[in-house]
Amino acid sequence: MIEFRGVNKWFGPLHVLKDITLSVEPREVVVVCGPSGSGKSTLIRCINGLEATQDGDLVVDDKRVGDPATNMTLLRTEIGFVFQQFNLYPHKTALENVTLAPTHVRKTPRAEAEKAGRELLAKVGLADKFNAYPSELSGGQQQRVAIARCLGMRPKIMLFDEPTSALDPEMISEVLDVMIAVAEEGMTMMVVTHEMGFARRVAQRVVFMDQGAIVESGTPEEFFSAPRTDRSRAFLSKILRH
Amino acid sequence: MIWEQLQDLIRSYPLALRGLGMTVMLSLISLVLGTLLGFGLGVLRATGNRFISAAIGTWVDLIRGTPFLVQIFLIFFILPELGVELDAFTAGIIGLTNLAACFICEIVVAGIRAVPKGQIEAALASGLSLWQRMRQVVLPQAMRVVLPPLVGQYVLLIKDSSVVSAIGLTDLTRVGWLAVQRVPNGLLVFAIVGVGYFLVCYPLILLARRLERRMSAAHGEVKL
């Protein structure tokens, strides 16, 4: 579904992705973790072309990203992206946030999109917030709307860029619960997060990155119980202490 | 034909230079006086008691709410009736200084208010007097917010000085007005006058932009 083959990326002199090779199967859930600045956000932002790669092949849903022949706008409709800062449209209500892209990009009839939007908002536990503006919602509620907004496009893949990092601690679980539900329905997901409980529960694989390279990759059990490198041990001891 | 007119205009360059000199002098004097007065009013407005603050606020509003042309007419035609004899240059200085002071006052107030409250509380807690708090803690931090619009205000001041030509002061604009009576080519004459102003104002505009960029880069903030 997602395949990196020898992908490299530089920000000026900074080598931010080093020879990445990684393959994600349909219905697989992959958690990406690592210290800040390790390139994990950049990695998933490349998948829908928010960042350009400079070297190597990146194939998503059988289409090459960055290839002029690939219609990126079309490909992006198949990929949901959940941001750390939510990025809800502040001038639209929760329901309008969910229906905006389906009606304008997918050209779904308004009534149909709204019906689907209501169902999705109910599914993420916000049945009473259809007409609330983002500024009237808590961080956790906003992030759940953002997830519903992605689901509204019926994507084949969902990418999460540190979805709980901007949240107060008491709101983290309500967002994780929604993500778990999405995972259990068989969505292909790549999630950048430090929430190890989430990784243990739904991830088939944990990828550990450091300084732009994939250092270690394995099942959650392997990774948590027997990390193979010093760097991953040091990282785990830091986050598990909390 | 244009060439002859240009030569004719070039011959009158002493007058043009005098006009430019007048514009620069008028602007410079009012700029210095206006800045001093503006900072004084700004600090008073931000820290003074409610009555003083409201009085300054009202005056600033009256000046901001009326065209500079009307203000200069009021000064030039009414002060003599009150027994103050003044020429166009003095009237220009008074008008521009007052105008600059009012706008700069508002800029300074905004700058002072942009300093986080915790800074003032910290200064209070360490026992600094009002004057010390202003000079050591508040104003240095406020300057970052104040500087870009301050330079922008200087550009406005130089441009507004052209209005003083309406009461007969021989500044750059007036020189153009006189020249166009003799050489009937308004495009040429006022293009040259415009270049004169451009040479003075554009460097300041660039400076203001640089200050603004540096400031927003230093803060790294997203304006909403």
């Binding site: 928010l50 992006r76 990009v105 961080g139 | 009256l62 709410g65 007419f73 035609f77 441009k159 604009t173």
Partner: protein, 225 residues
């Protein structure tokens, strides 16, 4: 002489001031609409990547900002006849005001568009919107609200700037004051009344600006954590 301040004369001239006020309002209004058109075009040119459109817009904006409106007004007033274009004074005045304010509005609109955070653009991109869809559905509606207060601020500046039209004998508020001053040798009565009329417009627009900010405050936009 101020002790002889004559309210009677002011009352006598009130109809003239009324006409002046009306003239100032509609001159400003027409100029503002023109300025908006100029500003939108300039801003659209300025936001293009290609230099071919961007450079002329930038040069125009800088040239306008670095020279006085009065010089621009004289440039058109004394210059247009030279090109064989004879226009009534008030049209020349509207043209000068619109061309001048347009440059400032272009910058205001641009700042509004650029103030929308990158995350909003990315959210649009990620859901597969085209450039036009992002502009229309995400960026412009938000930029519009941010832009209303500075737009009204520029409207205030424009109303005051229109006073300069009196110098090319357009009959408006300041001209009314000048007439009273020169006909009756009563500059105090003339210009104080003029100033008072401008203040009415100023406080009106200022109130509107406050109202718009209050309205925008009702539905605050901050969705940042």
């Amino acid at each position: 002489m101020l002790e002889n301040f004559s309210f009677r004369t002011i009352v006598e001239y009130l109809p003239l001031f009324g006409q002046g006020l009306v003239a100032t309002v509609w001159l400003s209004l027409v100029s503002f609409v023109g300025a908006l058109a100029v500003g939108i075009v300039l801003c659209a040119m300025n936001l293009q990547r290609g230099r071919l459109l961007q450079a002329p817009a930038k040069i125009y904006i800088d040239a306008i900002r670095a020279t006085p409106l009065l010089v621009q007004l004289y440039f058109l007033y004394f210059g247009l006849p030279r090109l064989g274009i004879i226009l009534p004074e008030f049209v020349v005045g509207i043209l000068a005001l619109a061309l001048n304010s347009g440059a400032y509005l272009a910058e205001i609109i641009r700042a509004g568009i650029l103030s929308i955070s990158r995350g909003q653009v990315e959210a649009g991109v990620a859901s597969g919107m085209t450039y036009v869809q992002r502009m229309r559905l995400v960026i412009l509606p938000q930029a519009f609200r941010v832009t209303i207060p500075p737009l009204l601020g520029q409207a205030i500046v424009l109303v005051k700037d229109s006073a300069l039209l009196s110098l090319i004998s357009v009959a408006e508020l300041t001209r009314a004051g000048q007439l009273l001053a020169s006909d009756r040798f009563m500059p105090a009565e003339g210009f104080i009344t003029t100033a008072a009329c401008y203040l009415v417009l100023y406080y009106g627009l200022k109130g509107l600006a406050g109202l718009s900010e209050w309205w925008l405050g009702l539905r605050p936009m901050g969705s940042r954590a």
